[in-house]
């Protein structure tokens, strides 16, 4: 410990790195503190003890059954947030993850219910269909942006509504849906056992299993990190996001990048419905969860579009969504966590912006000091990255 501190004092590069890590943790920490404070204020104003409420939630989350549910929610959210994050890294706003995953899950469920194949092939086929559908739906927005100059924000919002209509149209008896016996619910034909993914008993003593596709989530997270941080494509993607003019000048084909990242984003969005579809419902029915795309946007913002950050954000949202279920029994409105989530997202983006500005000022100060001393100092490894990462 002392070694680290001494080293940090003596070595400016290490010092800079430590400061960078400290600052990037400061923003989310600040946001969580602010949101807890505001949540507490709201709770107090409605006559509830905040600390007692938090304790109940934490206790409930510690129960094996709830823990499993939290992980399962997080797996689903993780895909949604990664899908959004790919776009965000190059300043592309894929607000349409919501429509992409619903259309993808519905069509993949129909294909999965219609065929019988050996187990791995069957699962693979369903996932490939979902990725292709999600990717193609997102590609419409990409094509419109590249060839007709239509803002992806508006086109993906419109495509969300169109997907809603299309899903409702296809999900009627006689088209892709069958009626479930003994209920008013209608859904696609159930996927046979060969197309299902068994759960994993990850949490001890839990009556429920964790989605088997948690493995796919881990792989997707790793692939995302590798693609963005370690490949030429990822470099060009980040370069385009940080300074498009500079990227163009250095030979990046921005049109191609927009199309490709939209395809990847939509492909990842196609995976959002998979854990639930292949792990528990086996059919796309009227009560299939909607709105996950917007949760994904919130989590991507919270996790700063990095594979690890997004994972932590997904777990946090999974915790808030599932642990709050106990609150109604305790006489507290469980909708309080919706306020917490909203405040976290808003305060985290403000906190990141403040940290970013502080960093630029600190760098300028350092450079100024170094110039004033007019002696050779170790060059900052990547000033541009530090300024805007």
């Amino acid at each position: 410990m002392t070694d680290v501190v001494t080293a940090a004092r003596t070595n400016p590069v290490t010092q800079d790195r430590l400061r960078r890590i400290g600052l990037s943790l400061a923003a989310p920490a600040l946001a969580i503190v602010i949101s807890l404070a505001i949540t507490s204020l709201v709770l107090v104003s409605t006559g509830t003890q905040p600390f007692h409420t938090f304790k109940i939630m934490l206790d409930y989350a510690g129960q094996p059954r709830t823990t499993t549910l939290i992980i399962n929610s997080a797996v689903t959210y993780y895909f949604a947030a990664l899908a959004v994050a790919v776009g965000f890294r190059m300043n592309l706003f894929n607000i349409g993850v919501d429509g992409q995953y619903r259309l993808a899950a519905m069509l993949a469920a129909s294909v999965g219910g219609a065929v019988t194949l050996p187990a791995p092939l069957h699962v693979g086929l369903i996932i490939v269909v979902a990725v292709l559908v999600g990717g193609s739906w997102a590609a419409i927005a990409g094509l419109l942006k590249v060839y007709r100059g239509v803002s992806e924000v508006i086109s993906t919002i419109m495509l969300n509504f169109i997907a809603t209509g299309l899903v409702a149209y296809l999900l009627t008896p006689g088209r892709l849906a069958v009626t479930t016996q003994g209920s008013n619910n209608i859904g696609t034909k159930p996927i046979p056992a060969s197309g299902q993914v068994p759960g994993i008993s990850l949490v001890p003593d839990s009556p429920l299993k964790v989605y088997g596709l948690i493995v796919l989530a881990v792989i997707a997270g790793f692939a995302y990190w590798f693609l963005i941080e370690r490949t030429r494509f990822g470099f060009e993607l980040r370069a385009t996001g940080q300074n498009e003019a500079a990227a163009v000048a250095s030979g990046v084909n921005v049109k191609r990048m927009v199309l490709l990242s939209m395809l990847i984003s939509g492909g990842l969005a196609g995976l959002v419905g998979m854990p639930q579809l292949l792990g528990s419902s086996y059919t796309y029915s009227l009560d299939f969860p909607a709105g996950l795309g917007f949760t994904g946007i919130a989590i991507a913002l919270l996790g700063r579009n990095t594979a690890i950050g997004v994972a932590i954000g997904a777990l946090l949202f999974g915790f808030l969504d599932n642990a709050s279920q106990i609150l109604d029994l305790e006489g507290v409105a469980k909708e309080i966590v919706l306020i917490t989530q909203g405040v976290i997202v808003l305060s985290v983006v403000i906190a990141y912006e403040l940290v970013r500005r502080y960093r630029i000022v600190a760098q300028q100060r350092d450079v100024g000091r170094a110039l004033a001393q007019a002696e050779p100092v170790p060059h900052d490894p990547a000033p541009a990255q530090g300024a805007s990462a």
Partner: protein, 426 residues
């Protein structure tokens, strides 16, 4: 005064054209809008005669379309205030949700007018949060807007749970009934027009239906909304205040150099935007349904934004965008046969567009228009009814098509969506 004249002189050069050609362009655009309205009416009327779907232009349809168009138009007007000041406001949806709740919560206890006031205040608070995040803290506008949508929904659901549960006729997801507002008509006009409408004459009956729809049982809030559009146009385009506000959206650093308090103008634009979104929410709660209900906005904040872009960031354009959305919405709710006839209308309009594009030698656009037109015609001939889910999609597909065919002609405020920091212009 001198600052004003200078900004005034600076404005035309900011839009990149000389005053004369800009004036000519405006005249052409005005005629084109009028021409489009006339062509649209003739097409609708002809299709009504051919298909016999009388509901295409009946007074009832027009009246329903008006009620559905107002919230979209008001959300779009909110977007206009914000984006003309240079701040993209995708948080309109969240502000509108806050408005519906404000109207429901105060409205059922203290009457619709106080409900309206509460809705405007709630929306304005949402706008203020967006302003603080984007203007003071410099957060990306779309990021902040998305966060406000999440926050607005969360706050509303929590407050509804706490404040509306156990109220007479209300519950955690809806408010008790809000007393309604007066719906005046022009006396005698409906009696005179109804027989004309029932004769089903080409054009004359259609005009009678439209006029009847626009003058019978119109809510006072609709009248207020129309007044707000006119007032917005006047304030933003014909006053020094409006010129300065728009200058902040075109080139904030130029405005700054002329002594305009850019932060202040942006704040005014965004808070006004929230207030108008709140008004849109109040209209939904008070006029369209008589209660606050969870999920009532149904994405109309986003549609309002689309209507504004559709309308090229101009009040007249956004009104036509809102009318288009309101009309297709009304058709979908009212009459299946008439909706089917809309396919023929689409085919006719696309044929017209194709000819227009051919004359202008834009062959790609012409080809696209022909392809979609043939598709619509074929669909019309091959089917008897249009599934309601497909009708639901029409306004969104129309928006996408319009943006795809005309996005190069749209011109948003030059500094729209860019983060402005005082004194950092280069």
């Amino acid at each position: 005064v001198s600052a004003t004249t200078q900004v005034k002189n600076a404005e035309p050069s900011g839009s990149g054209s000389s005053p004369v050609s800009a004036g000519a362009l405006v005249t052409v655009l005005r005629y084109r809008l009028l021409l489009a309205a006339v062509v649209g009416l003739v097409a609708l009327s002809a299709v009504r005669v051919i298909s016999g779907a009388g509901d295409l232009t009946s007074g009832g349809t027009v009246s329903a379309a008006l009620t559905l168009a107002v919230p979209i138009g008001m959300a779009g007007l909110g977007g206009l205030w914000s984006e003309r000041a240079g701040v993209v406001n995708i948080g309109l949806e969240g502000m509108m949700i806050l408005g519906t709740f404000g109207a429901g919560w105060i409205g059922w206890q203290h009457g619709p007018w106080l409900g309206l006031l509460a809705a405007i205040l709630f929306g304005a608070v949402g706008g203020l949060v967006h302003a603080i995040a984007t203007i003071t803290f410099g957060v990306d506008h779309i990021v902040s807007g998305v966060a406000i949508n999440i926050l607005g929904l969360g706050v509303t659901q929590f407050l509804a749970r706490v404040l509306l549960e156990g109220t007479p006729g209300g519950g955690q997801s809806q408010s008790p009934h809000i007393p309604s507002l007066p719906t005046p008509s022009i006396p005698g006009l409906a009696d005179a027009l109804t027989p004309v409408e029932q004769h089903h004459w080409f054009l004359i009956s259609d005009l009678a239906g439209i006029i009847r729809g626009l003058t019978t049982n119109v809510s006072v809030l609709t009248l207020v909304a129309i007044a707000l559009v006119v007032a917005t146009y006047f304030v933003l385009w014909w006053t020094p205040f409006g010129l300065r506000l728009r200058a902040c959206g075109e080139d904030p650093y130029a405005a700054e150099s002329l002594g305009v308090r850019v932060y202040l103008y942006k704040y005014v634009g965004v808070v006004m935007s929230g207030a108008l979104a709140g008004f849109a929410g109040a209209y939904l709660a008070i006029v369209a349904s008589g209660i606050y209900r969870e999920g009532q906005t149904g994405g109309r904040g986003y549609i309002g934004l689309a209507a504004m872009i559709f309308g090229n960031w101009r009040p007249g354009g956004l009104v036509s965008g809102a009318a288009l959305f309101g009309y297709t919405d009304a058709m979908q709710l009212r009459n299946a046969a008439a909706v089917h006839a809309l396919l023929l209308v689409v085919a006719v309009i696309l044929a017209g567009l194709a000819i227009y594009a051919l004359v202008q030698r834009r062959f790609v656009s012409a080809g696209l228009a022909v392809a979609f037109g043939v598709l619509a015609l074929f669909w019309y001939l091959a089917s008897d009814v249009l599934p309601p889910q497909i009708t639901f999609m029409t306004p969104y597909i129309t928006t996408l098509l319009v943006l795809a065919l005309a996005s190069q002609r749209l011109r948003m405020p030059k500094a729209d969506g860019l983060v402005y920091r005082r004194g950092e212009g280069h």
